[in-house]
């Protein structure tokens, strides 16, 4: 977040991040070309453009795997969170590398005929040419790279933007199919399919592990509710104050509703939705910094008692009513309108602490 508009809000973190991306891509290309020139010799020798084409293509696939693994890795281990912060930079770089691969391939294989190269590409013989899957993946990556800026997120709305950017998964499927069918056509060895298979297994396994873990957490039993008579019977007991570390939250899954993040800070307890207004990040995995909830994904901030971003920002999230009885936290599961102020529940500091 920042007050004044700038196309890219550069800071040291972003510069270092992007320097690593550029160095990583350059290093990969140099290594691949050098290794390829050593390995593919004699009858299997390939020309320099084909070598570079393969280097760019495999580099884009490796980068896409990194992008897809970062999300679940960050859920499993918080040390990966800083890499999620500028994940879209890797996404844009992936598109640019894939574009380099495509331009080289179209120019090399379709650029010297009578037909327009794109017409030539789209009029390939055969039932379903593998190039089409590559083109489809590139088109999706282009749309995602072009709309990766916060401007588009604001213009489209956070929810629509999120839906749009879930197209990364179809793009991934197109790319894997592109590689497999392409391997059948031009590359008789098993190397590419095996690498892509191992990559898919890794990405799928990480998503599965995180999905199952979250499902287990969501289905965890809520403590039998013993709410005071003056409260509506809908109020639920979400646990003890002592379960929540200072300035952190407990995420509670309510049946049929959104998750709620219950924060403990400075002798108080407040509850807000677990969903950040920016990119739907998990607020409950963030912490309270300088009195504001800080989203673990991109650092968007909200005041815990009213769900409003501090001025001059205008983002708002839903809040919930809470009470502390003894050391048990009681929550009204009905969300209040985003930005509704709720008096934080106070509790006595534990004398044993």
């Amino acid at each position: 977040m920042s007050v004044t508009y700038a196309p890219v809000k550069w800071n040291r973190n972003k510069r270092v991040y992007d320097a690593f991306i550029v160095a990583g891509v350059a290093g990969y290309l140099v290594l691949f070309v050098a290794a390829g020139a050593l390995v593919w010799t004699g009858e299997r020798a390939v020309s320099a453009p084909v070598l570079l084409m393969r280097a760019l293509g495999t580099c884009a696939i490796v980068m896409l795997h990194v992008v897809l693994c970062l999300g679940p890795l960050a859920r499993l281990d918080r040390r990966f969170l800083p890499l999620v912060y500028n994940r879209r930079h890797i996404g844009v770089a992936t598109f640019l590398v894939a574009l380099g691969h495509s331009l080289l391939a179209v120019g090399y294989y379709h650029g010297f005929g009578a037909l327009n190269p794109l017409v030539s590409l789209l009029s390939l013989p055969g039932p379903v040419p593998f190039e089409w899957f590559g083109l489809a993946a590139l088109a999706v990556l282009f749309v995602m790279a072009a709309t990766s800026h916060d401007f588009w997120q604001k213009a489209l709305g956070a929810s629509a933007w999120k839906w749009l950017h879930m197209a990364i998964y179809p793009a991934y499927a197109f790319l894997v199919i592109h590689v497999l069918l392409g391997a059948l056509r031009s590359e008789p060895n098993l190397l590419y399919p095996l690498f892509v298979g191992a990559g898919f297994a890794t990405v799928a396994a990480l998503h599965l592990v995180v999905g199952l873990r979250e499902r287990r957490a969501d289905r965890g039993p809520l403590v039998p509710t013993r709410v005071p008579l003056e409260l509506s019977p809908e109020w639920i007991d979400v646990g003890s104050v002592d379960e929540i570390p200072e300035n952190r939250a407990k995420v509670v899954c309510l049946p049929g509703r959104e998750r709620v993040a219950v924060f403990r800070y400075a002798g108080r307890v407040s509850a807000v939705t677990n969903v950040c207004a920016h990119q739907r990040g998990p607020l409950g995995e963030g912490k309270i910094v300088d009195g504001c909830i800080s989203c673990p994904w991109h650092g968007w901030e909200y005041r815990p008692h009213d769900g409003c971003s501090p001025p001059p920002f205008e983002e708002r999230i839903a809040t919930y009513r809470v009470r502390v009885e003894g050391r048990r936290i009681l929550l009204d599961p009905t969300p209040l309108a985003p930005g509704t102020a709720v008096e934080p529940a106070r509790y006595e500091e534990n004398p044993d602490d």
């Binding site: 929810s159 999120k162 839906w163 879930m166 998964y169 179809p170 991934y172 499927a173 894997v176 199919i177 497999l180 069918l181 391997a183 059948l184 399919p193 298979g197 898919f200 799928a204 998503h207 999905g211 979250e214 509703r257 959104e258 998750r259 969903v275 739907r280 998990p282």
Partner: protein
């Protein structure tokens, strides 16, 4: 993510797995066909 996004996430992953699995099956069948 909202619960709707999470639900769609699961279905999208199923679709991706099916597509990729089919592509691998086609690749294996074609590979065995060309070997025999």
């Amino acid at each position: 993510m909202t619960r709707y996004h999470r639900r769609v996430h699961v279905w999208v992953w199923l679709a991706v797995s099916l597509s990729v699995g089919s592509a691998f099956a086609i690749w294996l069948i074609a590979l065995r066909g060309s070997a025999s």
